[in-house]
């Protein structure tokens, strides 16, 4: 069964460094999403992406964040200058046109020290 994959599974970085989290959505899905879950808190929406542009973003998704689909398979989330409060589990999700459910990857645990 096709699934969303994410790399790396765990990333440790120092405050102020740039990180890129990678996702490979399910191959025939065209809507892509990033969510995050800070330890002990709810899963929060960050951004949705369709047709090579952002379709919606939350107030969390400020200028430090960017997303890109650099080729036909990868979908990336870049944090330009990480802060301690960016430490969280980041989930990528994808959705097929016409469907309502999103399919999630296993997540990348980002630890900023």
């Amino acid at each position: 069964e096709p699934e969303v994959t994410q790399t790396p599974s765990h990333q440790v970085t120092q405050m102020g460094q740039e990180v890129i989290l990678r996702c490979v959505p399910i191959s025939n899905h065209l809507y892509f999403y990033w969510y995050r879950q800070i330890l002990g808190q709810k899963v929060e929406f960050l951004v949705s992406f369709y047709n090579n542009e952002i379709s919606e973003k939350s107030e969390i998704f400020d200028d430090q964040f960017s997303v890109e689909r650099p080729d036909g398979s990868n979908f990336t989330l870049k944090i330009r200058s990480t802060k301690l409060e960016d430490s969280a589990m980041y989930f990528c999700a994808s959705r097929i046109i016409g469907a309502y459910e999103q399919y999630f990857g296993p997540g990348t645990r980002l630890t900023v020290t």
Partner: protein, 114 residues
């Protein structure tokens, strides 16, 4: 905007006993509702969804949920749990409008004991 409240943060239950996980939502528009499960060290897996029609929906692994519009609830149930049902369960909602993002509850951790 939508919000979700999961009323129980932790639910311990014995094997073969029934379990109910409570979910209430608030929204100014009609909604689609989902339950996801997260097994240890894995991603979020869709258990079931309510889009329209029958208010009782069945999902994978013997789970079912009932949509109650008047009580704005979408409680998840399983009549007999297994050790393998130990996981965290998330209720999520999406509005009928073009707001495709999901709003999640805080999650309920189910621990099944022999």
């Amino acid at each position: 905007a939508q919000s979700v409240t999961q009323l129980d943060s932790q639910v311990p239950v014995f094997e073969e006993a029934p379990v109910e996980l409570r979910c209430n939502y608030s929204s100014s528009v009609s909604v689609y509702l989902f339950w996801y499960v997260q097994y240890p060290n894995q991603g979020l897996q869709l258990l079931l969804k309510y889009l329209s029609g029958s208010t009782l929906v069945k999902g994978i692994n013997g789970f079912e949920a009932e949509f109650n519009k008047s009580q704005t609830s979408f409680h998840l149930r399983k009549p007999s749990v297994h050790i393998s049902d130990t996981a965290e369960y998330f209720c999520a909602v999406r509005g009928y409008n073009n707001d495709y993002k999901l709003s999640f509850g805080a999650g309920t951790t189910v621990t099944v004991r022999a």
